[in-house]
Amino acid sequence: MDQFSIKSLFGADTINWYTPTNATLWMGLAILAIIGLLVMGTRKRAIVPSRTQSVAELAYGFVYSMVEDVAGKEGLKYFPYVMTLFIFIVFSNFLGMLPMSFTPTSHIAVTVVLALLVFVSVTLLGFYKHGLKFLGLFWVSSAPLPLRPILAIVEVISYFVRPVSHSIRLAGNVMAGHAVIKVFAAFAGNLLIAPLAMVGIVAMFGMEVLVSFIQAYVFTILTCVYLKDALHPSH
């Protein structure tokens, strides 16, 4: 579990809120990688794109069409925020796949903040756009009248569980993958089962690469779904 611990970069004993830590380092590296891909890669603004530029365009188009498909045309106003979340999670996850690295998204503190940002802003947006009519989200008007209060309770609970599942899913997946690789690595010390452990590490690494992307995708698409609920609260 050493890979998950937060350490001060310059040997300070206590970790204050402003202390530069390995979390700072790897978030900074994520920013540099983002600049490398999205800013440097698109510098030429070529009509016929280079490889890097087409990857950047692919990322743009991926999130753009996701927001448009799920949240509708009105959702495109919030595309930069969604793109920020997606690109941060993707780069944190992939940089975390490097050996000896640190993965910010494996920490509940990070994912909870991300999920709460989405939850709070989406809720505020819903009330801002629709006022009290936003509460219609919890009032299933297509259900029979006697059922509606019960459904309303269920809806309210599920609404408030959203940030929990939203954050735990991401951190849990990333952390579990890294921990399983660590477990396999611990077995590699035994000569008899070392080959098996190595095969296990390779297989888990491959799956983790997949999970890194899929969890970023899931987080983003759920954000879009919540955004859609805020923009169109009626069922």
Binding site: S5, L38, I108
Partner: protein
């Protein structure tokens, strides 16, 4: 070995299990996360998204323009093909007309020549027939004379004086037969 496990145990106790649940590091992580998010947001919204968006729309525009140009050129090609076909048909009709005219002209000339030749041939053959008729008449007269002379000579040789009239009558009768 013993000290190693001891150390590991001490480390684990210090980190109090999962580092994720070490609340002392939360303010630090949250602070740096917020800074990171703001920086990424600024990079994206100020630089990347407008740039990529403009590149994509520019490409879309270029593709649309190129398609329109291609459509136009295709239209022109179709027109050119039509003109070419028309010219080809005109030329063909013209050549057919010329051929027909020439043929008719040659035909008339030919007819005239043929009829002229026919007339000539008819004149020649009539002339020739007349000549043949004269020759035949002459020949018949000669034959009568020769036959008469021969007959007289034969009869004279036999010692009889030939009656010229009888001989001539006999020859004429024979010639008729």
């Amino acid at each position: 070995m013993a000290s190693e496990t001891h150390e590991a145990a001490g480390h684990a106790a210090e980190a109090s299990g999962m580092p994720q649940l070490d609340f002392a590091t939360f303010p630090n992580q949250i602070f740096w996360l917020l800074i990171t998010l703001v920086v990424i947001y600024l990079i994206l919204s100020r630089v990347v998204l407008p740039r990529v968006g403009s590149v994509l729309s520019e490409r879309q525009g270029t593709i649309t323009n190129d398609l329109a140009a291609a459509e136009e050129l295709k239209q022109k090609a179709v027109e050119a093909e039509g003109a070419y076909n028309k010219a080809l048909n005109d030329a063909r009709a013209e050549s057919q007309k010329i051929a027909a005219e020439t043929k008719a002209e040659i035909q008339t000339k030919l007819d005239i020549a043929i009829s002229k030749a026919d007339a000539e041939i008819a004149a020649k053959s009539a002339e020739a027939e007349a000549a043949i008729a004269t020759i035949r008449k002459g020949a018949v007269a000669s034959v009568k004379k020769v036959a008469g002379d021969t007959a007289k000579e034969i009869i004279a040789t036999m010692g009889v004086k030939a009656d010229a009239k009888t001989v001539t009558a006999a020859i004429t009768a024979r010639m008729k037969g």
